[in-house]
Subunit: 193 residues, 2 copies
Amino acid sequence: MRADAKKNYDHLLEIARGVIAEQGAEASLRDVARKAGVGIGTLYRHFPTREALLEALLRKSFDGVTSRASELEQSCSADAALASWLREMVALTHNHRGLIAAMTTALTDEQSALHASCVLLRGSGARLLARAQAEGKARPDIDGTDLLGLVSALAWLNDQPSFADSVAHLFDIIIDTIMLPRASPEAARTPAA
Amino acid sequence: MRADAKKNYDHLLEIARGVIAEQGAEASLRDVARKAGVGIGTLYRHFPTREALLEALLRKSFDGVTSRASELEQSCSADAALASWLREMVALTHNHRGLIAAMTTALTDEQSALHASCVLLRGSGARLLARAQAEGKARPDIDGTDLLGLVSALAWLNDQPSFADSVAHLFDIIIDTIMLPRASPEAARTPAA
DNA sequence: ACCTGAACACCGTTCAAGT
DNA sequence: ACCTGAACACCGTTCAAGT
């Protein structure tokens, strides 16, 4: 990439970060180009789709979640690791209104520039879930897609001001629903009906 | 209302029903006016905001859910009534992409034409929840807003094609999370109301 | 190679002018 | 009363023309 092009690329990304933080993932691309002081065509040359811009903007954050998931897999108990991942996923999409909708769409759209990242994220959660299930710490009747669905639904709710006061509580409820109570050593199994 | 105005009003509503069923709650209002064969100003005269149009379109459905909730309160067990209400809420927002977002926003926006309906819906669910809680059939640590948050999150997920295959399962999981297991017969009697 | 911005096809919303 | 549609201020996206 030519030096002047690289400069435009980086500057667009910097401006886009601010605009999208303020206006959400559906922010006006024209506005981004305007604020960056470049022609709208320059934005489209560097980022042919909105998803490409989001992907470039969030690649580090995505990588951060997946790599931390790997660390958690080594360093934490299975249930604590899974809970941490859930928290990170909600945090990732917080302050990026509309991002969760874009990611959800991208999950099954192989053409989307966000597709690969979303599949990786689902995989990182699925691994933590599988480990917790293998240890009897997470309910066995959900898979990685169910897990991502639950966290996406919570992330969406987290973007709705009407439910701002409810999300933390609902998040805890969902965590409890995913996790199985640790079987106490001396107690018999819960009585069958 | 003058006869010609009434005719336009009704026709707009009929056309809007089809367009919104196809394109979702964010459908182009210009498109609605065009397909109805009236000037865009006529649409705005009858429905000053998009929410006003949605409200007119869905009033009967809203009323249906709240009145059926009252019936359920009389005719059904508390837990079955609550589960039915949850199913009806998800069904209500299904086939109306984007409606749940509009309703969620309206819940805390007193200016919205959808505000009153959304508050009524929350109230109808809250009553069923309270009855179930009083009978020990629903977990006591959630309120009407939490319940609406859960159902809204599920309704949003239901609009996402990526999770089409997961929603039914997740819906069952959420129902189970809300409901408490029925106390075994020989155990203590349900506390008197 | 890369940048520019006019051009095109859309929006939502308002309001003066018509009936 | 009510209807109309031009007008205004925006979009996303493309692409010929410039450097």
